[in-house]
Amino acid sequence: MISYAECSARERIAQLLDAGSFHEWLPPAERVTSPHLAQLGVPSAFDDGVAIGRARLDGRTVFVAAQEGAFMGGGVGEVHGAKLVGLLRRALLDPHGERPDAVLLLADSGGVRLHEANAGLIAVSEVMRAVLDARAAGIPVLFLIGSANGCFGGMGIVARCADHVVMSDVGRLAMSGPEVIEASHGVEEFDARDRALVWRTTGGKHRWLSGDCDTLVEDDVQAFRDAAIAALGDTRPVTVQALEHEHRLLAARLQLLPEALDGDIEAVTLWRGLGVADAARVSSLDVDAVRALRPA
């Protein structure tokens, strides 16, 4: 087992895609870097924190982007976002006749890169539009989430705009980080140091049980690879019917959880309401056991 969480972005690409198949666009040597960081005394990265390109997955052509969470928390800035937009556009416009079977986004991001503020916010939105454009053109978009940073902020929204989300139990998917919530509404609202609470609220097991991710895996690169291969055919057209179904699901879920429940029992209450057997034991169960608990 190779921990996906402990890999760098480039290690994930090397391990997950077919060996030696990754062809990078705008590689580090081209120095397509951020124009905004030097003025803040922050070093740039040669690839602005994301490696993009074409590769093969189980012999099939895919486009892939891997965000480097160790650089700026994986935050999306102007150039980083434009690389993602370009990748998605290249998939759908297919100017070189290499239409991929899917676009894989190895997400590892806190969301908008705060150091680039406004430029980052617009960039995330452009990525969101580009994801939906690719899907509308019939190209599946897959998100893989399993880093220590997780996938937060604007990227947490974009993840749920994709066809398929794979998460490990280590991964987290959410909007606001625990520290932000605690800073805003106090430790009673969210104790950011309570790791069990953090993972009950935003971690892969919870997202699997609640349906917010489509596949749950161990923290293992091979498991992510297998899940990505299996998800290649999982195109989910965005139709009125699909969105009505989603709306019913989300509205029903809202009713399941009374307001002002204590944080200690809130997640378990929700899981029970969703029909998860053995809800009280979820946090101590392993991935295989949790996988079996998801309501049909």
């Binding site: 760098s8 480039r10 003025q39 803040l40 005394g41 070093p43 740039s44 990265a45 690839d47 160790a70």
Partner: protein, 110 residues
């Protein structure tokens, strides 16, 4: 208004003995706190040029010492080394430089 913080750029140049030959650019490391990335590219023989961009200002003499050591170990000729640094220790810098050289094509290995 001059900003209180800025990136420091340091340039070094050595004459090497072992030609690195032609090779695809090599990247090691990540720009995170206490870390650095090193990009190795072919350069003009016999020079080994190093450009360091760092947020940890004022350590020019330490970079000199680390790079002198590095060049003494590898004596590369015809390489260009570019570094983005966020306060890595000399030990980590040396490690990354050695890792980068290790990824060069076998013909260039010392």
């Amino acid at each position: 208004m001059s900003l209180p913080t800025a990136i420091e750029t340091l340039d070094f140049s050595y004459d090497g003995a072992r030609p690195a030959g032609r090779f695809a650019p090599v990247l090691v490391g990540v720009v995170g706190s206490g870390n650095l990335e090193v990009l190795l590219e072919p350069g003009e023989p016999p020079k080994c040029r190093v450009r360091v961009e760092t947020s940890a200002r004022g350590f020019g003499t330490i970079w000199q010492a680390v790079l002198d050591d590095f060049q003494a170990r590898h004596a590369l000729a015809g390489v260009s080394i570019s570094i983005n640094d966020m306060g890595a220790t000399p030990a980590v810098v040396s490690l990354r430089l050695d890792q980068a050289v290790a990824e060069l094509a076998p013909g260039a290995q010392p």
